[in-house]
Symmetry: C2
Subunit: 193 residues, 2 copies
DNA sequence: GCCGGTGCTTACCGACCGGTAGGTAGAATC
DNA sequence: GATTCTACCTACCGGTCGGTAAGCACCGGC
């Protein structure tokens, strides 16, 4: 290849956004490339002009979406001095951002190459997992949180949130901020007496 | 209809088990009726002999699997006098039982009729959700757990567990009992000091 | 010895899937 | 003004999807 020089015009962006929206709503196998092309107001070959195949589009969607949420999430994770407030702020962002990438990543339905898969997972760790773990580590270090396996706890938090992110309807009609507060209350204080 | 009188022979059971296994591994849209028929060592029309269509099979799989796990789960939920032990016991069963039904239920990918959907959800509440909530309610009543919205907490517990049930590989190579203990430790004691 | 129901099969259907062949309008380059 | 490249199109491919028509082997009842 003499020059990769991938185009970065607005069409490519429209396809990425359409794929994120439709796959987020229906799952990767629930929306075809025809659907996505229609949603982006282009034809299917145009999708193939920008992406090698379905799994390449899948990876690109995840990486792009994770990347564009990474910054705001890290910012939210710095808001509020105490661990509890930083957690609420980060979780509220995760819930409100309607970001489907982590769920899509877990689907992994399409056959990804090892390389694509590791690329997507690395983006997930960098932009989503690690800011959360950082809050926990800081909290432990500051003596506000007890000693624990912070990787396990961060994963548990993301698991807990997962069915509630990227959705319009939250349990009990809560707002993102309320749900985040309730979840953090549950997990910080525990349910024991 | 003069008489439902559905057959209950071993073929029907084989189809149900095959659908549970394949759909649990690959998702509802990831395994076709041809795949399921092959796995059950019958032909596709045989599937249609026992089930009206794909969504009827979907509902039947979920209800059947939930039903057959309901008893053991309730038994596990009674083991151990203290709330903490009862929770560990119930969660360890959920993790170890490799039951895919709740995840499939959430997929809901296929178009279910309102009736089928409510039937499946009712089975889920009866056999999975309510035993868990019962432990929490008992714990609150006995003064072992703090006052809380037990429905919210039970849902959060199931969410937290969801990515780890029905899988062969658990995080950190844990056994079901270990994972249940860690999860209950996290949620009962909390991560705050 | 024929009949009708049960439990299953072979052979097929139209719709839709991911993916491709081949062409073209228009801007950029020379 | 001829050439080349970018960004996109129409039209189609082989394969797979959920679902069906039609019939066959086996059975107990008469």
């Amino acid at each position: 290849m003499p020059k990769p020089k991938r185009p970065t015009g607005s069409t490519r962006e429209r396809v990425l956004q359409a794929a994120d929206r439709l796959w987020g709503e229906r799952g990767v196998r629930g929306a075809s490339l025809d659907d996505i092309a229609r949603e982006a107001a282009v034809t299917k070959p145009t999708v193939y002009y920008y992406f090698a195949d379905k799994s390449a589009l899948f990876t690109a969607v995840i990486c792009s979406v994770l990347e564009q949420h990474g910054g705001p999430l890290k910012t939210a994770a710095r808001r509020g001095g105490r661990s509890r407030d930083r957690l609420i702020s980060a979780l509220a962002y995760l819930i409100g951002a309607r970001c489907n990438a982590p769920r899509l990543l877990r689907e992994g339905g399409v056959t990804l190459t090892v390389d694509q898969n590791s690329q997507a997972r690395s983006a997930f760790f960098r932009h989503f997992f690690s800011p959360l773990q950082q809050i926990l580590d800081d909290g432990v270090h500051a003596g506000e949180l007890r000693q624990m396996d912070t990787a396990f706890a961060a994963q548990a938090l993301l698991n807990l949130l997962d069915p509630w992110t990227g959705r319009d309807q939250l349990p009990g009609g809560r707002e993102p901020q309320e749900l985040a507060t309730d979840v953090v209350g549950l997990i910080v204080d525990g349910i024991g007496v």
